[in-house]
């Protein structure tokens, strides 16, 4: 049977686990990075406490120096000392006198003038930005008993990208740690979400393969979230399915068994009728033939419904495929000869497997009989047994070909359905029970094999593939 599932996805990036993991981690990384950028943009160094303190200290240093100089000068009562620009005063220091004029000849930047007007009376240091400058002040001081304000105006030092680089290079260990920790959490989250889904997937596959007793593991059902609920519902579903399938099988078996009682009575009644009447023997013969067919059909239905989906170890034995096939071919060939047909084994290769020879034999037998039925007189049914080796697996390929009319392409898919008939007319060549191919399919599947059919114009080719096993000497 062709599995309805696509093969397990191999590309790791298309697996849900990696999808969740990578997306969450990407989100985390983006968040951290954008926060860093925002920090670099919005916050200027003036807002960083250490840098503010540095600026304040610088301002105070110059202030104190000016005060000391002014004290010495006042003792000498030298009035020119202040009027004359202090040669030691760095160019970023601006001293405003009480009338708002600076002691410099150079023009005061507009931003600083504006800042000065706003803050000249403040007792605490203020910080502001403008015109590419960082401005700090005022430092209140008295020179010659007149109030002065000292301001520090440094060019705003850093470009955004440089600042970003500064942050990244100064704090790289923090960033790496953040990434690793967030990565770990994303990993855990992805595992937490995906592992129960994998459990569910495995269980679903097992059910599709016919193992209706499958239960989702406790890891899933013990969860209190939606996935846990899904697991519980899944178990309920699989139990329901299992019950339904069992009920159906039981019904089929029961019906078949029940049919036997009236059939037995019919046999005996027919025997009585034969004894009691003289005429009608031909009709009685027909009735007897039909009883035989009905009996055969019931037997096949029972066999088919018994071929359960598992083959326990006790039912397995070592089966030599060439032996099994050649014996079968000898027998069927004998029967075919009565119809002026033949069954020949064209090719065989030594191989075997652990399985049930009776079940396997019935599979091949049903297919060969079918082939005999449809191949024309004076032609042969040909059987091939070959071995195909792939990397680590060996597969026995059994091909059975007839030279009959074949099957319309659109019917091929239904060939293994119970009671499916290509031609809706019954009787004559269509006298099979309609279960042979279905039994063959189940038997092959019980041995982990596959079976399919193709037209070979003229005729039909049935291809059975069975995994073979190395022989273990017991």
């Amino acid at each position: 049977m062709i599995s309805p599932f696509r093969p397990i996805v191999r590309n790791p990036l298309s697996q849900l686990f990696w999808k969740i993991f990578l997306w969450f981690w990407l989100a985390m990384m983006t968040l951290v990075f954008s926060l860093t950028v925002v920090v670099a943009f919005i916050l200027d160094p003036a807002d960083f406490l250490p840098e503010r303190r540095g600026l304040f200290r610088e301002l105070e240093k110059h202030g104190h120096r000016l005060e000391r100089i002014s004290e010495k000068q006042s003792r000498r009562s030298n009035k020119r000392a202040i009027r004359r620009p202090n040669p030691d005063l760095p160019h970023e220091i601006h001293l405003f006198n009480s009338s708002g004029k600076t002691t410099r000849k150079r023009p005061v930047p507009n931003a600083l003038r504006h800042f000065y007007q706003q803050t000249r009376n403040e007792r605490q240091y203020q910080v502001a930005m403008g015109d590419g400058l960082v401005m700090v002040g005022p430092y209140q001081l008295h020179l010659e008993n007149l109030p002065h304000q000292l301001y520090l105006a440094k060019p705003s030092p850093d470009h955004v990208l440089r600042r970003l680089w500064q942050i990244l290079s100064n704090h790289w260990s923090v960033l790496v740690t953040t990434l690793l920790v967030s990565g770990l959490f994303c990993f855990l989250l992805a595992a937490y979400l995906v592992s129960p889904i994998r459990h569910l997937q495995t269980a679903a596959r097992r059910i599709a393969e016919g193992d209706f007793d499958t239960e989702v593991s406790k890891h899933v059902t013990h969860r209190k979230d939606e996935i846990g609920q899904l697991g519980k519902d899944f178990n309920v579903m699989s139990r329901q399915l299992s019950d339904l399938v069992d009920a159906q099988k039981r019904l089929l078996l029961d019906v078949s068994h029940e049919l036997r009682s009236p059939l037995t009575r019919l046999q005996i009644a027919l025997a009585l009728a034969r004894k009691k009447t003289v005429g009608g023997q031909q009709e009685y013969d027909r009735i007897e033939l039909e009883i035989g067919r009905l009996d055969q059909l019931i037997g096949q239905v029972i066999q088919w419904s018994r071929l359960d989906n598992r083959l326990n170890e006790a039912m397995r034995e070592w089966v030599e495929l060439p032996n099994l096939l050649s014996e079968l071919i000898e027998d069927t060939d004998f029967e075919a000869q009565a119809q002026d047909k033949q069954v020949i084994l064209i090719e065989e290769e030594a191989c075997g497997l652990r399985g049930n020879s009776a079940i396997l034999s019935s599979a091949f037998e049903n297919i060969i009989r079918n082939a005999i039925r449809f191949t024309p007189e004076k032609t042969a049914v040909r059987v091939f047994l070959s071995l195909r080796e792939q990397i680590s697996e060996k597969t026995a390929v059994i091909i059975i070909e007839d030279q009959g009319p074949g099957v319309p392409e659109e019917s091929i898919a239904f060939l293994f359905n119970p009671f499916f008939r290509v031609d809706e007319t019954r009787g004559e060549k269509n006298s099979g029970t309609g279960l042979g191919m279905a039994i063959a399919q189940r038997a092959v599947e019980l041995h982990q094999g596959t079976i399919h059919v193709e037209n070979r114009h003229p005729g039909l080719r049935v291809i059975i593939e069975l995994p073979v096993s190395p022989k273990i000497n017991e």
Binding site: S261, T264, E288, E335, Q339, D340, G427
Partner: protein, 229 residues
């Protein structure tokens, strides 16, 4: 006193069988559950017991076990077809033969007669020739046994008739219609392959001759014969 006890819960079948077996010259008593079956065997002296497996009150195997505690009366078990396990259990606990349902009346009579002949020495021999011997086969016509190099082959009544007929007329062609008439007791029908199956089974069971050559040959479309040298 009746010779045969039928233990079966299918009342209608019991009725039909009684009538049929009487026509065949047997006398028959019927009971319909396991317990009465045991009681009937213990209080009467039957020549043969036909015992169904599925019975109310006490199933066929239990009945057989209890019967075997007191008597060696021959028992033919009627099992459901395909129940290989039933057959094995039945034979293990002392059934003389088994017959799957639904059975053919000829098969039933043949088996009953075979058992009776084996166990009842008072029955006169049917024919003068008692065994047919060919190659390594030996066919006992009295108790309907086929022996292959001394080992008993398990055969249905139909298969017995097939091999007996082929051996009796060894070397000559027997048509499919004739063989159908003899072994199945009816005419050959169109598209009737039943006899081919039976011959095939016989061939399978008897295998090739000691020298490895085939035993039975098909003549295309017309019939079969036993190969003689």
């Amino acid at each position: 006193m009746s010779e045969i006890l039928l233990v079966d819960d299918d009342l209608e079948l019991c009725e039909l069988l009684s009538e049929y077996l009487v026509m065949e010259g047997f006398t028959l008593s019927t009971v319909h559950d396991g317990l009465s079956g045991v009681e009937a065997v213990n209080t009467n002296n039957f020549k043969l017991v036909l015992l169904d497996v599925t019975l109310p009150k006490l199933n066929g195997f239990e009945v057989l076990k209890r019967i075997r505690q007191n008597t060696k009366v021959p028992v033919l078990m009627l099992t459901a077809r395909g129940e290989e396990v039933d057959r094995i259990i039945g034979l293990e606990i002392g059934a003389d033969d088994y017959l799957p349902k639904p059975f053919n009346h000829r098969e039933l009579i043949a088996r009953m007669k075979a058992i009776l002949r084996r166990t009842d020495s008072s029955l006169p021999p049917e024919e003068n020739v008692q065994t047919l011997n060919i190659d390594d086969l030996s066919i006992n016509l009295l108790n309907r046994e086929v022996l292959l190099t001394g080992k008993v082959l398990e055969m249905t009544a139909t298969e017995f008739l097939v091999i007996k007929t082929l051996v009796e007329k060894a070397g000559t062609l027997i048509g499919r219609d004739e063989l159908t008439k003899i072994a199945l007791g009816r005419r050959l029908m169109e598209y009737d392959r039943a006899i081919d199956m039976h011959v095939s089974n016989v061939r399978k069971k008897t295998g090739p001759k000691p020298d490895g050559s085939p035993r039975i040959k098909t003549v295309r479309g017309s019939g079969y014969f036993y190969i003689t040298d």
